[in-house]
Each structure stands twice: as C-alpha cells, then as structure tokens.
C-alpha cells in the first residue's frame, strides 16, 4: 500500500515538475508575465519562511533565483531565441547547466562573462588545453562532435547543449537526435562562434540568452572598434590598388580558394587573394602559379599538421623564423615581390581562425597596408581580448608566439 502511495506521489511530482518547467516560476496568476509585485511577493514569502518563522508556502531557492533572473533580464516574460540555424526556442528558465561541444562558442560565452560554474560539460579539446581554459579543467568530457560520449553528456543533466550551426551538420544532427532520445528535456542551440559574417549577431543573441546584455554590448563595441577601423580604411581602397596576397596553410602549397574562411579574411583585411577564383575551397596549387602571379604579400599559417607549434602554450619564436626562411629559400621564389621585399609573414591559426579571427584580420590589415594602419596595434587588441574578455592572466610580451615578424 505504501509503495503504491509512494508511486502516486512520485508520479504527481513528476507531472507537477513537468508542468512547472513550462511555466514561469513565481508567476502566480499564470498569465506568462512575472510582474514586480509577483516577484516581491515571492521574495517576501521566501524571507518569511526562512528568517521570520513564517508558515507560508515559499518558492524554492532555485525558483526564486530563476524568477529574479527572468525579471531582470527577460522583462518577466519567456524568451524566444533564434539560433544560427534559424531554429526558435522558447525558454521559461535561465540556463544553469550548459554543455558545449563547440569550443568557439565557449570562448564567446567567456567573452560575455559567463560564470564557469554554469558550464557542466565541455569537449575534449577544451580539456586538452589547460593553458587557455584553466577554469574548465574539471568539467565533464563530452568527447568531440565526431566521437561524442553520450553517457557523460547524459549523466551531467545539462539543460542546454550547444553545437555548431554550419560545421559537420550531420554529426551535430546525430548528437541531437540521440541525446534527445535519452533526455527529452534538453534544449539544443546551434551557434558557430567563428564566422565573421555572423559573429556580432551571435554574440548579441547569446548575451540575451544568458542575461549578459550589458557585457555583450561592451564586447561588441570592442569588436566593432577593431573591425570597423579596418573596414573603414579598407573599403576606401579601390579594387585595382589592393595588395595581392598568397595565403598558404600549414600544408605546403595548400592555399585558400573561393568561399573559404581564409579567403573571406583576406578580403576583410583589404587584400586580393591570388587564388580567390579557384572553385576548390582549399586547393593545392602549383608553385609556378604562385611565381607567375607574383603576390605582394605572402601569409603562411602554422599551428597544425606538420607545423603544429606556436600559440598559447609555446614561447619559442625560432620555429616561426625557420618557416619564414624556408619559404624564402624555395627555388625561384626569391623572384616573388613578397620575398624580395621581405613581406613574408607567419601567423598562428589560433588568431586567424576561430573566435579570435578579428585579431588575425587586424594583423593582416596592418601587414597589407602598414602606412594606412600606423595606429592599429593588433597585439594590444589581442592583450585586451585576453585580459578583459577572456579573463586570462596572460602576458603576450612574455608568452606565446602568434606572428612573425612581430
């Protein structure tokens, strides 16, 4: 008999719980808007029950906290968010347990001042980088997009899972489907966090989602400052006066073609990619073609593949120098203007790809047009990004190698 009663009670709680999860907490009249008097009543009930010996039925601390958040940030109403894949989700509670498969979005959330204890699970790449992500080292390991650990993801009870919007969409769809079947209560959000075209919009949306609108405004004005300065100068340069650029990734002779991310960044920095019409996204090009097109500037990206050095964990600049010299020593390449004029630059993928792309773009702009950007100091921008927005105590003068020559 007691067992059946217990079951009934459990079921009721389950039902009530589910029902409550859909309504705004502390919304007494259930009209979907939390007014200040409803919030005040809830606060008073809670204080009464806890400190004044009252016998009123008080809202739970979690409900009260959520109600305070919703009143302050969402105007007392449920929030409908549209993520980067165009999907709209309505939330009646703030997100308190966030699991991220996307480390670029994690960076963006950190720029918006997200408290680390609201994050409960991260991808394995985050855990493998204690230099850049010291505060997330104890979080659950979710694996990666291509090899996710569903059991870990389920056992941390996230209320939201963040995935990529345009990267490996089939893998992300699989993850969403499987996790949903394990725990139907999880909400899924798709944000990229690395694409220049959607960066600002995503930061704004995430700020709204997490109740960090003020921080989002501050971060975006910093971001706009950099990108606006570059764009302002670059947009005024006519097409025929643009500097021609040859960009090479960490694989020898692998360049960037039409529609690739690097091509976009060269464009943003005011350069003209000599392989910009190539229909293949990352074509392997003929060295002779580079010589014949005679670029004004050469940009070489390191940080992965055989050139996996540099970045935040590496302080040694000599490997960058070696790469620079090797390019100059390629047969007949000393005829190329870029090599002749000493305009061969090395940049690390951490600052040209991902959420720090605007720092890399600033470096590119400065290299392409040093006279037009005398006031632009990409390194200061980078330092400010790390200190003020990523909350890292990292001194670029002492540590890390990202560009060469400086």
């Amino acid at each position: 008999m007691t067992r059946k009663l217990l079951l009934l009670v459990c079921c009721t709680f389950l039902l009530v719980g589910t029902a409550a999860a859909e309504a705004i907490p502390c919304d007494r009249d259930g009209n979907g808007t939390l007014t200040s008097s409803e919030l005040a009543a809830a606060i008073l009930d809670s204080l009464d029950a806890r400190f004044m010996g009252g016998t009123v039925e008080a809202p739970s601390p979690v409900d009260l906290r959520d109600a305070a958040f919703i009143y302050e940030h969402w105007d007392g109403r449920a929030l409908t968010i549209t993520d980067s894949s165009g999907r709209a989700t309505t939330l009646t509670r703030p997100l308190r347990r966030i699991a991220l498969f996307n480390s670029d979005t994690l960076d963006m959330l950190r720029s918006l001042g997200l408290e680390p204890d609201r994050v409960v699970g991260v991808s394995k790449y985050v855990l493998e980088d204690p230099v850049f992500y010291p505060e997330y080292q104890g979080k659950a390991n979710l694996g990666s997009i291509w090899s996710p650990d569903y059991e870990q993801a389920a056992s941390i009870h996230p209320d939201a899972v963040f995935l990529y919007a345009t990267l490996s969409e089939s893998s992300c769809a699989d993850i969403e489907k499987t996790l949903r079947s394990i725990d139907p209560g999880i909400r899924f959000f798709r944000f990229d966090g690395y694409r220049p075209a959607t960066y600002a919009e995503e930061a704004r949306t995430l700020g709204l989602l997490l109740g960090k609108e003020e921080e989002a405004r501050r971060f975006l004005s910093f971001h706009r400052n950099v990108t606006g300065t570059v764009a302002g100068v670059v947009d005024a340069i006519p097409a025929e006066d643009r500097v021609s650029v040859y960009l090479e990734s960490w694989h020898d002779y692998k360049s960037a073609g039409k529609g690739s991310g690097y091509d976009e960044k060269i464009e943003l920095a005011g350069g003209r990619n000599i392989f910009g019409e190539n229909p293949v996204e990352y074509p392997v090009v003929d060295p002779e073609a580079v010589i014949s097109r005679n670029p004004d500037v050469i940009v070489k990206i390191v940080g992965a593949g055989e050139l996996a050095f540099g970045g935040y964990g590496d302080d040694d600049r000599s490997s960058f120098e070696t790469v620079c010299r090797t390019i100059g020593n390629r047969p007949v390449w000393d005829r190329i203007s870029a090599v002749r004029d000493g305009r061969v630059h090395i940049i690390h993928s951490d600052v040209i790809g991902g959420p720090e792309y605007f720092i890399g773009t600033a470096y590119l702009a400065k290299w392409f047009y040093p006279d037009l950007f005398t006031d632009l100091d990409p390194r200061a921008v980078h330092q400010q990004y790390l200190e003020e927005f990523q909350h890292l105590d990292y001194d670029l003068d002492e540590h890390g190698t990202f560009v060469y020559p400086a």
Binding site: V120, G121, G138, I156
Partner: protein, 150 residues
C-alpha cells in the same frame, strides 16, 4: 607559466545609517538602508527589543513585518527608509542580513562585502582523465591500414 583566472569584480553590499528623528515626531529613529550592486534581492532586518515598528516609505507589497523582523523585497532600488519608535541610543543593536537573488551572494547588513559568495550550481561532475595520444595514433594507423589495404 601561471595563468590565473582573474575573477570578475562586482559584489553587493548593504549599508545602514541610523538617524534620530527630530523631537517633534516623538521618540524614534530613522534607519536608512543603502543598497549597492544588488538589482534583485531581499533584506531581513531585526529590530532590537524596546523598539516598535512605525512605518516606512517602501511599497506595501514589498514589505512584510512579523514580530521584531521586517523583510524587504529589493527590486532595482538603492535606498530603503524605515522608522521605529524607541530610545535614541542603542543604534548598534540593529542586525540584518541581505541576499542577492541573482548571484546567490549573501551578507550582513553594515559590513563591506558578501560573507557568502553564493553557492555554485549543482555541478557534481566526475573528472575524466584525458585519453592521450594513444587513441589518436591508433586511429591514424587504422586510416593508413584501411587506405593501403583497400
């Protein structure tokens, strides 16, 4: 190389100032609570024995009196004033606690900062060891074997 997370600043606090009421309004004190950095929160003040509650300028639906305790719901305000009846000396006997409902911080009214920096969300997470390069190498070896084998 030490990379320490610089903690964000911004903590709340509530200060109390007690002023004796002018003679004409009877024997009483006016207490002013100044709230800093707490957009949504709650304060519970305990009025010492010998004093009785008179009133306040805080809205009724945000104030609740019960015995010697009075609770205030703080929503986007910076000052709360209330009056009590009683001898003008024992100003130090007033005690109170405050809570910031957004950050979970709490503290004592009149001290400088939060005593309790707020509970972390229930994130009890097992820390899994990183799996190292072994699997990555094995995977790469497998790719090579497959490509060559086919």
């Amino acid at each position: 190389m030490i990379f320490v997370l610089a903690a964000p600043a911004a903590a709340g606090s509530v200060a109390r100032v007690i002023v004796p009421l002018p003679e004409g309004s009877g024997n009483g004190l006016e207490v002013t609570l100044t709230v800093t950095g707490i957009p949504v929160g709650g304060i519970v003040e305990t009025i010492p024995d010998g004093y009785t509650w008179v009133g306040c300028d805080h809205p009724d639906d945000r104030t609740r009196v019960s015995g010697q305790n009075v609770a205030f719901a703080v929503i986007d305000e910076e000052a709360i004033r209330y009056r009590v009846q009683g001898p003008p000396e024992a100003g130090e006997a007033f005690t109170g606690t405050w809570e910031d409902l957004q950050t979970g911080e709490s503290g004592v009214v009149g001290s400088d900062g939060p005593r309790n920096s707020g509970q972390a969300a229930q994130a009890t997470v097992p820390s899994t060891p990183g799996f190292g390069y072994a699997a990555a190498l094995a995977a790469l070896a497998m790719i090579c074997a497959r490509r060559c084998g086919r």
